[in-house]
């Protein structure tokens, strides 16, 4: 009997359950099968990634502090996930597009977006404070996995125009259960779009652990069913995240289609400031993951290689402090918001009914101003 099915064992191979890694917890370069055939990026690149992670960590700590002071309505921290976000986003160029979720503030920082603009929506200002086109970075998306489809569509449009653009999109482990994640993976694979999916598996969707989210051995396994490569990567190893993402981006740019990359990591902070993680996590797990800190790991390696001098370390610390100061300043400053602008960005074509409502609010404001005089 012949099933007469084209068999390609390599294409069907499941990602390794052991996450691919280039630097181990102690900061030693990994050799052999665990690297998945990827090579450690050069020292210049690693130093750059280290710098970005240290600055981002300082930013994240600062924003969490400001949130506790009531300066922000909410903030989803990326503490502990810097390697995943920064490793991935550093692998695309300024011409490529990024489609983030709400937890990608440090990825946005790495895109060169100003802290005040990144945090506008979290402080209750306009929903997206930065210029999407200028930064080639879409809005931070709250509905889960929906932005992955936008990334696929944009990548497809770029391909139709023969522009060598890659779209990188993030989602969390919980988001992979959403229908839109499936549709995005499937559309990307069928259309062979230059899209790279980064699943940041921080192991909890708010309070729900991964074991209640999926029965698959790894989230990267999901790639196989769509006919695209999947990689299960140590998400606290920035070298591995960068190298694998870079390979996926290069492959996508060359017309090789999409890739799904799972970065196995851990959210050290709460889901947001309104969450209580002690209800669903053990302190010993948090401690375990703190010992696998992505920054310390790379620092050990760079120091052992003699690549991180005290002068460089001090310069990076200064840059991080300067950014923290800038963040405090822009967040502490009162935002100047024009209520009448509420009506200005609903339609491109002016709509009579909205102009009437605008006039009504304008009259109310004028009346209130007159009364306060």
């Amino acid at each position: 009997m012949s099933l007469n099915v084209e068999h390609d064992a390599a294409r069907r191979a499941l990602p390794s359950e052991k996450p691919l890694r280039l630097l181990d917890n102690a900061g030693h370069a990994v050799t052999g099968a665990a690297t998945g055939g990827f090579s450690l990026p050069g020292t210049e690149t690693l130093l750059d990634l280290y710098r970005k992670m240290v600055v981002a960590r300082r930013f994240d700590v600062q924003v969490t502090a400001l949130t506790k002071q009531g300066r922000l309505a909410t903030y989803p921290s990326a503490y502990g996930q810097e390697a995943c976000e920064i490793g991935a986003v550093s692998a695309i160029t300024a011409d490529d597009w990024l489609f983030p979720t709400y937890r990608e503030s440090v990825a946005l920082l790495t895109r060169g977006i100003d802290p005040g603009d990144i945090l506008k929506s979290f402080r209750g200002d306009w929903h997206s404070g930065y210029d999407q086109r200028a930064h080639r970075t879409s809005t931070q998306t709250t509905p889960l996995a929906t932005q992955a489809l936008h990334a696929v569509g944009l990548a497809h449009a770029a391909r139709l125009r023969h522009d060598p653009i890659v779209a990188l999109t993030f989602m969390g482990d919980g988001a992979t259960s959403e229908g839109d994640a499936h549709e995005a993976f499937n559309f990307a694979a069928v259309w062979q779009t230059p899209t790279v999916f980064i699943v940041q598996n921080n192991q909890f969707a708010i309070s729900v652990p991964l074991s209640r989210q999926t029965h698959a051995a790894t989230l990267a396994d999901k790639a196989v069913g769509y006919g695209m490569p999947g990689f299960h990567v140590d998400g606290n190893d920035v070298a591995a995240v960068y190298a694998v993402t870079r390979a996926a981006v290069d492959r996508a740019r060359a017309g090789g289609g999409p890739t799904l990359i799972e970065g196995l990591t851990y959210r050290i902070e709460a889901h947001t400031n309104s969450d209580d993680p002690t209800r669903y996590r053990h302190a010993r797990d948090v401690e375990h993951w703190k010992r696998r800190d992505p920054i310390e790991r790379l620092e050990k390696y760079l120091v052992s290689e003699g690549a991180l001098t005290e002068a460089t370390r001090s310069e990076i610390t200064d840059a991080a402090e300067a950014l923290a100061t800038h963040t405090r300043e822009v967040i502490t400053a009162e935002a100047e918001l024009d209520p009448l602008e509420l009506f200005d960005h609903v339609y491109a074509n002016p709509r009579a009914a909205l102009l009437e409502q605008r006039a009504r609010l304008e009259a109310e404001l004028a009346e209130a101003a007159a009364e306060s005089r």
Binding site: F99, W126, H127, S128, D131, Q132, R133, S138, T139, P143, T146, A148, L149, H150, A151, V152, G153, L154, A155, H156, A157, A158, L160, R161, H162, A167, G179, D180, E183, A184, N186, F187, V190, E341, D344, H345, V346, Y347, A348, N349, R351, A352, A353
Partner: protein, 341 residues
């Protein structure tokens, strides 16, 4: 592919020929694609098959599969990817095949299509069109005959239009594709085969305007899409009862043309709205409220709604009992207890 922004007239007008609404929509897509290579068309079965209603018939043969193609069967994916394409500068026109099939795309339409411009403070508009064949009276099985217009019309950020005839179908679809705002373009299935003599290209009234399609002096009947025909039938029949009925084709549900509707109601002093969708919380409630708020002292009677029942759309053998008919319209008008002495 190079982006062009030409909007020339589409060539010389042809001699009038009998054209169905499906044919007019097909011509509108063809002309829009020919004039602007940013316009791409995709959805389920729109390629070689030409769409289940043949609205995209022959387009893939003419424009190739990089301009019009069959997508995987997934409505959220269709709309979600169209958003990304629109961000990149395309003008996607996507098809939902049947009204109730659009529900998986509800989140993408409501949370992203409608809000992208707003949440980006005007920096990103989404010039895309979601074509939704809508409503019933075609003997379809369940999930093939819904009237979903209220969901879209009550969502700020969307423009929602519904043509009732071939000329408007052509003109309004061209305008929807050219619009910088996203448009939910609803196509009443029962009118796809309605014919009219047409010389294309045709430009009718702007799509945000309602039109008085029949003049009258006693009552204003407000319909849209499939119920414009019902309203006209009722108006014809009412003549025998000595009533002069004015009929308005709303054409656009959002925005709402208060001006045209109020002018008519002030003339006739009575109004009724007809739609296939359920009455409770339906679009007729919005019409009645708007008409009443603006014209209360000109009204001689409450605004009436003649609608489908508050039930899931019934099976084909029972749909005739559900759909608003000209007889039901006349019975509703009679409930005002006219004094014709």
């Amino acid at each position: 592919m190079t982006a062009t922004k030409t909007r020339s007239g589409g060539g010389a007008a042809s001699a009038p020929t009998q054209l169905t609404m499906a044919g007019a929509l097909n011509a509108a897509l063809r002309d829009a694609m020919a004039e602007d290579d940013r316009v791409v068309v995709y959805g389920e079965d729109v390629g070689p098959l030409g769409g289940v209603f043949r609205v995209t018939d022959g387009l893939q043969q003419q424009f190739g599969d990089e301009r019009i193609w069959d997508s995987p069967l997934a409505e959220s994916g269709i709309v979600g990817t169209a958003i990304g394409m629109a961000i990149y500068g395309m003008r996607p026109v996507v098809e939902m095949q049947f009204d109730a099939f659009s529900y998986p795309a509800f989140e993408q339409i409501v949370s992203h299509v409608a809000k992208m411009r707003n949440r980006t403070k005007g920096r990103v508009s989404l010039p895309l069109v979601v074509r939704i064949p809508c409503a019933g009276a075609i003997g379809g099985v369940e999930h093939h005959s819904d009237s979903s217009e209220s969901y879209w019309a009550s969502t700020p950020g969307l423009t929602v239009v519904m043509p009732s005839n071939p000329a408007d179908a052509y003109s309004m679809l061209r305008e929807a594709i050219a619009s910088d705002d996203p448009v939910i373009f609803m196509e009443p299935k029962s009118r796809y085969w309605a014919k009219a003599p047409l010389a294309l290209p045709v430009t009718t009234a702007p799509m945000d305007r309602a039109l008085v399609v029949r003049e009258g002096s006693d009552v204003t009947l407000i319909g849209y899409g499939p119920t414009v025909r019902t309203a006209l039938e009722a108006a014809d029949a009412a003549v025998d009862e000595g009533l002069s009925v004015e009929v308005i084709d709303l054409r656009s549900l959002s925005p709402f043309d208060d001006e045209t509707v109020s002018a008519s109601v002030r003339k006739t002093s009575r109004a009724a709205v007809i739609h296939e969708a359920a009455q409770f919380g339906g679009f007729g409630a919005e019409v009645a409220a708007r008409v009443t708020e603006r014209n209360f002292y000109h009204l001689a009677a409450p605004v009436l709604r003649i609608t489908g029942f508050d039930i899931p759309y019934p099976s084909p053998k029972l749909e005739e009992y559900h759909l608003p008919t000209a007889d039901r319209v006349l019975a509703a008008l009679a409930s005002w207890e006219w004094d014709l002495s």
